[in-house]
């Protein structure tokens, strides 16, 4: 059996210390923050990427990077925006690495994955999924942030890396496009949305 010397134990303790010192919050604070932010972040990333499995990986990576980041403020809203920004950038990086064909295939797989619930709900959901997939990633980002997360224009600009002044116009265009796509749906606008 291999003997563990005192020096090795000391080394491992020191390394663990280094790792914890690198984080800007302790474990308990992180758990509270995670409970508050992980669900919205997962929903956002899964709809942005169009892939649930990928969203899970992106969420984990986003938190790892968030913990190591050098944050300027302890404000919770600021921290949440920062986390969403990391998630957005990670998704963009993933898209840049992936060829277009694979992205389209991933979108189709996601539509097929719509499981459980009633047949009507599945139908409505996949229709809405198709509508979302026909929007540009940036349009999905700003629409989700504005209408699901309730972010202000300034917050959207921070997360999406845009100029605050251009968010209003981009948001209007994206909303107009999505409304048109919803009205053009072959089955009409789902009842729940009417």
């Amino acid at each position: 059996m291999r003997e563990i010397t005192l020096t090795e134990l000391e080394c491992s303790n020191v390394t663990a210390g280094v790792a914890e010192e690198a984080f800007h919050m302790d474990e308990q604070t992180f758990r509270v923050f995670y409970e508050k932010t992980s669900r919205p972040l997962w929903s956002y990333l899964s709809r942005l990427s169009g892939d649930s499995a990928l969203a899970e990986d992106l969420v984990q990576e986003a938190y790892c990077r968030f913990l190591r980041a050098n944050l300027k403020s302890d404000d919770e809203a600021y921290q949440k925006n920062y986390l969403f920004r990391i998630g957005t950038n990670l998704t963009r990086d993933h898209w840049r690495r992936q060829p277009r064909e694979e992205r389209l295939k991933a979108g189709a797989t996601e539509e097929m994955r719509a499981d459980d619930r009633t047949a009507e709900r599945i139908q409505q959901s996949s229709d809405l999924g198709r509508v979302l997939n026909r929007l540009k990633p940036r349009e999905r980002e700003i629409l989700w942030l504005a209408y699901v997360e309730g972010s202000s224009h300034k917050e959207i600009a921070e997360v999406a890396g845009l100029k605050a002044g251009s968010v209003r116009l981009l948001l209007f265009r994206a909303r107009h496009k999505m409304a048109r796509l919803l009205r053009e749906m072959p089955e009409g606008v789902p009842n729940i949305v009417k």
Binding site: A19, A22, R39, Q124, S125, Y147, V148
Partner: protein
Amino acid sequence: MKIPQCDREQQVLDALRSGRWSGPWGEELRRHAAGCTACSEVVLVAEALRLEEGQAQTEMRLPSAGLVWWKAQLAARRAAEEYAAQPIAWVERMVRVFGGLALLGLGFWQWPRVLGWLGGSKSVLRIAESSGGIADWAREFFRSFAEGFGRSPGYLLLSSGVIFLALVASAAYAVWREE
């Protein structure tokens, strides 16, 4: 470009998010949205996205906070180790570059000797071809090599220098690696 806007868009959005929209408190807003292009678009899009969010909640597969914390610790540890190993990697690169340059310089400096040695090797090969057996060839090779050293002390000096430099570089590298 002129953006068609309504002052009550935010009110409509707040009502939708809080759930007041479908209650009696939302009656007046609903009447307004029915006749306002901007607000009706807000309602349509916000409700569709809310429905999609509801669907996302049912598909959610989230790791526990503890697992994410542990993974973050591992990643931080790895990053710290990579950071600590940076000088060693730098020294490794420098040793390779300077070693290569030194060999190249030595080659240029001693080019006539190298050519002479290569000529000697050719004669050794010729001996090997003519004598046939491996044992004979090896015997002849070492004999001619020893004679070469005997004739020209420069060979000995050159070989010793190269071996000495290689040993010093290896020792320096080993010390750095250990530290």
